[in-house]
Symmetry: D2
Subunit: 132 residues, 4 copies
């Protein structure tokens, strides 16, 4: 299964007074990378939510911060899906600056019917993501 | 018409690498102050949206930044409604640190039916806010 | 003086429960557009802050929200500098979705010595931005 | 060691178009809870950074999202420190809405000299936090 690469530039608003990217900001970066990962494999997530009334919600986030990132740096997020079943979908990501690992993350999603917030089985088209 | 006062403490995540509160953060502060202004006058905004399907959306924001605010400072937002009619509701706020004016803002809201995003007349209960 | 165009895609985290981009989010979009405006004209803002110890801080923000923007839409920010003098630098921006104007904004910046937060005259290289 | 309880109300800006609190928002909530945890035990974190030039930075965040939280709900964050040594300080938190567990989190911090971003030993006054 090929990895997907998402590139971004750190915004000024993403930093905090420590002079580095705030640790919470990375969850936004990772979310944007997942959306593009899905788009590249045929799932337009906006349409997915709108047409099916389903949402992929984060049920677990494990993030290890190895290096600080700074304003205006260009980062790359390499993402793959090591695990996918009817209950959950796991994205594994490395956020890199050049060859250096800035952040490692595993984000686990479940599928819910948005209106009621009720868990449902992962749809087949989502499971297909894991096969690249 | 009496003013309403809302108190907050600046969070670490609210700052940027300039060592001050990011200018965008104040819009969140002002929004929280408006919600409490309404609650104190009998409008539970969460219920308003849910039960009436209406939303008060920002159509104009004018903010003057006079002084920087910093992490962990306690700020007070003094809010009043200088203008209210069927088309719009304007909140005027001063954000203070002690006696010093940090920020001045006028935020103008219109009322929309959320599902279609269509403008509707300001409901009577909202107009009543302006009478204190 | 030519305009600068900055393109972005609305992130999921940029929305609120009204189903649209939160009004505060636009200040981040506009900030990113200003950074790229400057980069295209020879000012690397990260280096500017680091090497000169100066910062361009927002002293006034006037934003008119004409249309709502939504998750995953592609927006274009057209930016120009209608006013530049020793005291301030004003950026005027239109945020467009296709041909529709989503937001109009004037953001006025002053120059400060970051360490003390003290106002200083706008440097010549910044004033040169206004000449394109 | 007694727990610390931090109370907050969910802001409108904290939500996303799924109608719930965005998963990234919780890292801000947890950060604010840590700051108050420290204040209650004698560490004014703003002064700590300013006077010692040290910062407590997040090196690992593990968050399990059990239930969605919604706009205007009041949440309580119960925090303790299960682990503290020269290399790291771990905060364990439960975010509750009434008796229901919304989120579980372990946030691990290290101590850095802010100017260089270099790791240093956890100061004695910080280690003392773990003794309540």
């Amino acid at each position: 299964v090929p990895e997907s690469v998402y590139k971004l530039r750190v915004a000024y608003a993403d930093t905090d007074q420590g002079g580095v990217v705030h640790h919470g900001t990375y969850l936004r970066y990772l979310e944007a990378a997942r959306i593009e990962y899905m788009r590249a494999r045929g799932i337009d997530y906006a349409r997915f939510e709108r047409e099916q009334g389903l949402g992929l919600v984060v049920v677990e986030a494990n993030v290890r911060y190895k290096l600080a990132a700074h304003f205006d740096e260009v980062l790359e997020i390499h993402t793959s899906i090591p695990l996918a079943n009817r209950a959950k979908l796991q994205f594994a990501s490395r956020i890199l600056r050049g060859d250096s690992v800035v952040t490692l993350a595993e984000i686990t999603l479940a599928c819910v019917r948005i209106r009621e917030g009720k868990l449902v089985s992962m749809p087949a088209e989502v499971l297909a993501l894991a096969r690249g």
